[in-house]
């Protein structure tokens, strides 16, 4: 039965990893705005197409992931 000990140990490590990931996501502000990213993801495609067509030297699309601190 000692394999149970290993399994439990592995399970708790994995679960903890998810918990830490969740806490990181919350701290990072990913739950602050749950609407705008869903709209933003549709734009990026459109914009890239436009830039290709017109071949302009404009600065590229801003990176949509908010920078951890500073915001809020």
């Amino acid at each position: 039965m000692s394999v149970v000990f290993i399994l439990v140990f592995v399970a708790i490590i994995m679960a903890s990893a998810f918990l830490i990931a969740f806490i990181w996501a919350v701290r990072n502000g990913q739950y602050e705005d749950t609407y705008t990213p869903s709209v933003r993801i549709l734009f990026d495609d459109l914009l890239v197409k436009k830039e290709e067509n017109e071949n302009e030297g404009k600065s590229p699309t801003p990176n949509p992931s908010p920078k951890g601190k500073g915001v809020s």
């Binding site: 039965m1 149970v4 000990f5 439990v8 399970a11 708790i12 679960a15 903890s16 998810f18 918990l19 969740f22 806490i23 919350v26 701290r27 502000g29 739950y31 602050e32 705005d33 749950t34 609407y35 705008t36 709209v39 933003r40 549709l42 734009f43 459109l46 914009l47 436009k50 017109e54 302009e56 404009k58 600065s59 801003p62 990176n63 949509p64 908010p66 500073g70 915001v71 809020s72």
Partner: protein, 798 residues
């Protein structure tokens, strides 16, 4: 009228003479200017993502550039900027106009408009934009001017300075929930094998490991996730009040110690799964109830309405000073669209002051040199010079605000149903626990302690504590979906207790946006009407526009010698005949200033005074129904600052003139509410402008009616979208249903408690009973509450 052309920028009707650019029709030059800016910067996609996404701000309503001069000053800049280093700065603005996907797209592509902007992010629910920019290429002031030029006017006021470091509580709650969920899931896994038949064959080592792991999991839940419950329980004991948190804290502690004892003595596995589950469910309830409308503000005071800085005039020049430094006797310059910060006297210029935020009256008031001007109005038109009479703090409006410190709103939290119920609940539970403890100590002493703790464990009012958050939380969501926004869930309970309703008139019962116009006097023929229309076409005064739109026909005649005499009227020659339009004094020469409450535009044409246009505010549609229905259950009152010219009309609505009060100053309104409440009434005040702020604050519940809920509104408990006014009675009545649902929820959780207690007092409460009963009771209460609210909301049809 043939086809109606719609402005491709904002979707408003273009009227009879659209502004054309690039083959596209626009309603005004303001809209077409924005189009041109976007067009030259290859941002035309703005118009493809959504149809007619723009915001209409007519040229004359656009704030002038100097308004933002204060943003160049170092001490303001440092307060407004979130972050600044090495020329790179970050700033966030609240922009009420953000409303659609196109807005997001455009605002996030600001870098195409100006190279100095590094990146910009929109937070749509908050209607906020975060901009990172390079200060060597674009200053803060230029940045704001850029936003203004594309009709996204950021709100910069005291509020935007002080609003730092909020919203941390939300994050904390999420983390607490996450930890509780983690512990709950894992504890269930450790407990589950021991609920199965044959668990007695499990190795002791494994049992021991599961036990200690559970305890380990419970520690962060107890010390971090549930710490609020212990804290509030402790606080309320210190105040001598029994709140719902007390039995919860008691239950949690007992659960934990009982489990610890069982695990140490290796008699069993304990109740850790129930404990963590409980905390998890209760936190979910707290989160559900705590939903707030991020973009709405219910706490605004005059500071958030007034500007941050004013322009003071010295002998030779002008300087921008912070509002706090403004002193009586100062001379200040107020430009187009700026707000008059303090009571003052008009020194030069012609003032046309929009008091719609104050009184709800949409037509601007004209003032002459030497007139006294109250603070709070917005200047429309050219710049004016004012001499400050009273400091900001001493002005009439601000004083009104300062004198209402409402004590009845401070004890909001303590009076809620759940706390009243829990007072009895706690006492009864403790009595039962002690009783069964005594009973068993006489009969079977080894069961005494166990039955005592079992009662405390099973009676933990989790289901009870969940009923209110879920019922009220769902009610609030249902209301929000229909345009009735509550500050918090306590407002629902308060609305239910209301027995008196007090209305304001202008802007509340009447529609501030549209007014009825009719002509009083000689009958005018169509040519005469066309002449009037041709004349007003040349004026940008709001009254002229209203008259212009009210007259049908397209033919415009040539106007010669057109003159606009500020604060008086307009004049011109059409077909060689002079036409004058304007104030009674201007047109007829009669000096009599009768303070008529309706707005009148007198007409002089063909050598005589023909009569006048009368503008009356329209009553909101559905008013009759709302009043009739509310009248059945509530005592209705009306307070208005206007005179009694409308009395007959109002009696028609209210049935009797008994509770109608006219000529009420803001202080009168406040005192009237105070008087009613002294008589023991629970008053619901329904108002709109700053002049109702005192009354709204003083009343038991204050509702503000707003055409645009994101615009400024005085501090209140709830904001009702103006177009939902007809449903007002349904909203109020629905709160009764919510209370009924809460009571039924209580009944259900009591029944569960009864079942649990029968186990507990017999000393039969095993971990498995707790593990089944406690989640089931919580979940069923949650399901019941949310379902019955949405079901009855469907039947109410508000």
């Amino acid at each position: 009228m043939s086809e109606e052309l719609k402005c491709i920028h904002c979707g408003n009707s273009c009227g009879k003479s659209p502004v054309l650019f690039d083959g596209n029709p626009f309603c005004c030059s303001g809209c077409s200017t924005v189009y041109q800016i976007l067009n030259t910067n290859q941002l035309k996609q703005y118009y493809q993502i959504e149809q007619m996404p723009g915001v209409r701000i007519e040229d004359e309503k656009q704030p002038v550039d100097e308004t933002y001069a204060f943003l160049d000053l170092e001490n303001f800049k440092s307060k407004i900027l979130n972050f600044s280093e090495g020329g790179i700065s970050k700033v966030s603005f609240f922009i009420p106009e953000i409303h659609c996907a196109s807005c997001i797209w455009l605002l996030e592509n600001l870098h195409s408009l100006n190279k100095g902007i590094i990146q910009s992010f929109v937070n749509f629910p908050k209607k906020e934009i975060n901009i990172t920019f390079n200060e060597s290429e674009i200053t803060l002031r230029q940045l704001v001017a850029l936003l203004v030029s594309i009709h996204y006017i950021p709100e910069i006021n005291q509020h935007s300075i002080e609003k730092r470091s909020t919203d941390q509580s939300d994050k904390k709650l999420f983390i607490k929930i996450g930890i509780a969920a983690f512990s709950f899931m894992n504890a269930m896994i450790y407990h589950f094998p021991q609920y199965l038949p044959g668990h007695e064959f499990l190795e002791t080592d494994i049992k021991r490991m599961f036990g200690w792991l559970s305890v380990l999991l419970a520690v962060p839940v107890l010390t971090y996730s549930a710490n609020d419950y212990f804290l509030t329980a402790y606080k309320s004991i210190k105040k001598g009040i029994i709140s719902i948190d007390l039995p919860i804290a008691l239950g949690l502690i007992t659960l934990f110690t009982q489990s610890l004892i069982e695990i140490i003595s290796e008699r069993g596995i304990g109740y850790i799964d129930s404990l963590t589950g409980l905390v998890f469910f209760m936190l979910i309830g707290r989160w559900y109830q705590g939903k707030t409308y991020q973009a709405l503000s219910f706490e605004r005071d005059y500071k958030t309405y007034f500007p941050l800085a004013v322009t003071r005039m010295t002998e030779t020049s002008t300087v921008t000073i912070p509002l706090e430094e403004l002193k009586a006797g100062d001379r200040i310059l107020v430009r187009n669209q700026e707000i008059i910060p303090a009571d003052s006297i008009l020194k030069s210029g012609t003032a046309s002051i929009d008091y719609s935020f104050v009184t709800g009256e949409s037509m601007p008031v004209a003032k002459k040199e030497g007139d006294f001007v109250f603070a709070g109005g917005r200047q429309m038109g050219s710049a004016i010079e004012l001499s400050i009479e009273k400091e900001v703090q001493q002005s009439y409006l601000t004083q009104l605000w300062n004198q209402t410190e409402n004590p009845s709103k401070a004890d909001y939290k303590l009076n809620t149903i759940v706390n009243r119920v829990s007072q009895y609940f706690t006492v009864v539970v403790v009595l039962i626990a002690v009783g069964s403890g005594i009973y068993w100590s006489l009969n079977q002493p080894e069961l005494a302690l166990f039955s005592f703790t079992s009662v405390l464990i099973i009676a933990c009012p989790c289901a009870l504590a969940l009923t209110v958050p879920f019922t009220f939380g769902s009610t609030m969501r249902q209301f929000g979906r229909k345009g009735f926004y509550l500050k918090n869930t306590a407002v629902i309970e308060h609305l239910d207790k209301v027995d008196t309703v007090v209305f304001d008139k202008t802007g509340t019962l009447t529609n501030a946006q549209s007014s009825e116009i009719r002509f009083v006097g000689k009958k005018l023929n169509s040519v005469q009407l066309q002449r009037i229309k041709s004349l007003v076409f040349h004026s940008s005064h709001p009254l002229s526009k209203t008259i212009y739109n009210s007259i049908e026909g397209d033919e415009l005649f040539e106007v010669k010698d057109f003159q606009e005499i500020p604060a008086l009227g307009i004049t011109g020659l059409i077909h060689g005949l002079r036409i004058n339009l304007g104030s009674r004094y201007f047109v007829s020469g009669e000096k009599k200033e009768d303070e008529s409450l309706t707005t009148e535009v007198w007409v002089y044409l063909e050598d005589s005074v023909a009569g006048y246009f009368q503008l009356e505010n329209e009553y909101r549609s559905g008013l009759h129904e709302v009043i009739r229905k509310l009248d059945k259950t509530y005592e209705l009152h009306l307070l208005t600052g206007d005179n009694d010219a409308e009395k007959a009309n109002l009696i028609h609505y209210f049935g009797t003139g008994k509770n109608l009060h006219f000529d009420q100053s803001p202080t009168d309104k406040l005192n009237y509410i105070r008087k009613l409440q002294k008589e023991g009434r629970k008053v619901l005040m329904i108002g709109d402008g700053l002049n109702d702020a005192g009354a709204l604050n003083e009343s038991y519940v204050g509702i503000v009616i707003a055409d645009n809920v994101f615009n400024f509104s005085p501090a209140c408990d709830a904001i009702l979208q103006a177009k939902q006014f007809a449903s007002l009675d349904k909203f109020i009545h629905f709160t009764r249903k919510s209370i009924k649902i809460v009571n039924t929820g209580f009944l259900i959780s009591f029944l569960y408690n009864l079942v649990g207690l029968t186990f507990a007092v017999q000393g039969n409460l095993t971990p498995i009973v707790a593990a089944i009963l406690m989640p089931i009771s919580s979940v069923s209460v949650v399901v019941f509450a949310s379902f019955s609210v949405s079901l009855s909301a469907k039947f109410s049809r508000f």
